[in-house]
Amino acid sequence: MRAELDQIYRQHRQALYSLALTVTGCAQLAEDAVHEAFAGLCRGTQKPRGDLIAYVYASVRNAAIDRRKTEHRQRQLVESIFAARGPESDFRTPDDTEEQRERLQSAIESLDSATREILVMKIYGNLTLEAISLATGEPAGTIASRYRRAIEKIRNLMSTRLGATHERD
């Protein structure tokens, strides 16, 4: 169990953190949620049955939801899951690529939180739709259609903004 958890953390560290950050909107709360989830798993007396990876994602998500409930009563938290690239960035990208990246990030952040969670688990965690279904407690069919709609929406937003940019030029 310990070895499995260790491996899962090493492989899914970034995706788990991004999931928690998507839910909480706060880096510190996200870290606390991931820690809390693993602490619970490590101290638990029984080994979870079924898909352990999905179980870990569910634990992190639940811990993050609990944190959000507590903190959001006091303030609205909206930290991005994406890395900031300020002028101190070590590398430069062509302006159009940079602009496209920003548009893509904006499109993802315009999605509702629940849909972004699915996106994070699917794309960054490489979870199957069934595993996401286990982690969220929603039917796999619902997860699949929400994911499909999210990708469509992002594509539409990207093409609309791209068209607007070309017209402006």
């Binding site: 260790d6 560290r13 880096a27 991931v34 101290r43 899951i81 893509l104 990030q105 794309i123």
Partner: protein, 193 residues
């Protein structure tokens, strides 16, 4: 769809702080310290039950042989000697060859002379103590490793007097560090009870 997915995948995510790694690995390390492989063998209840049945039969056989008044030399103070009824003597192994609190347990006795017809009122507690030892012994036999008793010192079943069940602040078994069969407090050992 794949193109958009690839573009999303290439976005840089905000990484967690290193402190998160430290916190998680501390939890994992603590998990390892608190529950060695012994815990993973516990679900094999079938084997443990069989061992417990054999131990009970051995105890009953002992009572028949000794007429309900076992004359066991449970107070032996010679390091490496054993007070056990069903001992498979490995005294030379258990008399200090291994580190403190990490001796093999397959030479240990499941029940002391106080069990059976002459059982004390605290028989249940003693049975629990014996069961813990049995499980540890079972684990050793299955894994071929030495049970890390030192990791289970918080478990009072491994750290209480087998006669009066007080916590062992000054356990006599320290003089025979690897023999849990002689886990008795100094007072009980002196009285030879």
């Amino acid at each position: 769809m794949n193109e958009i997915e690839d573009q999303i995948r290439q976005l840089s995510l905000r990484p967690p702080e290193d402190s998160l790694d430290r916190r998680i690995f501390e939890e994992l390390a603590m998990m390892e310290r608190l529950s060695p492989q012994f815990d993973e063998s516990l679900p094999r209840r079938g084997a443990a039950v069989v061992t417990a049945v054999w131990a009970t039969l051995a105890c009953l056989a002992g009572l028949i042989v000794f007429g309900g008044n076992p004359s066991l030399n449970s107070g032996s103070s010679e390091p490496g000697t054993s007070s056990s009824m069903t001992e498979t003597t490995r005294a030379e192994e258990g008399s200090g060859a291994a580190g403190e609190g990490s001796g093999r347990l397959d030479q240990t006795v499941p029940f002391s002379s106080g069990n059976g017809l002459n059982a004390p009122a605290s028989q249940n507690a003693e049975f629990e103590l014996a069961s813990a030892r049995l499980l540890a012994t079972e684990w050793e036999m299955q894994s071929g490793k030495v049970f890390p008793t030192a990791l289970h010192l918080k478990d009072l079943r491994f750290f209480e007097c087998r006669r009066c069940h007080v916590a062992l602040s000054s356990p006599w078994h320290q003089s025979v560090p690897n023999d849990l069969t002689v886990t008795a407090c100094t007072d009980c050992h002196k009285t030879g009870s």
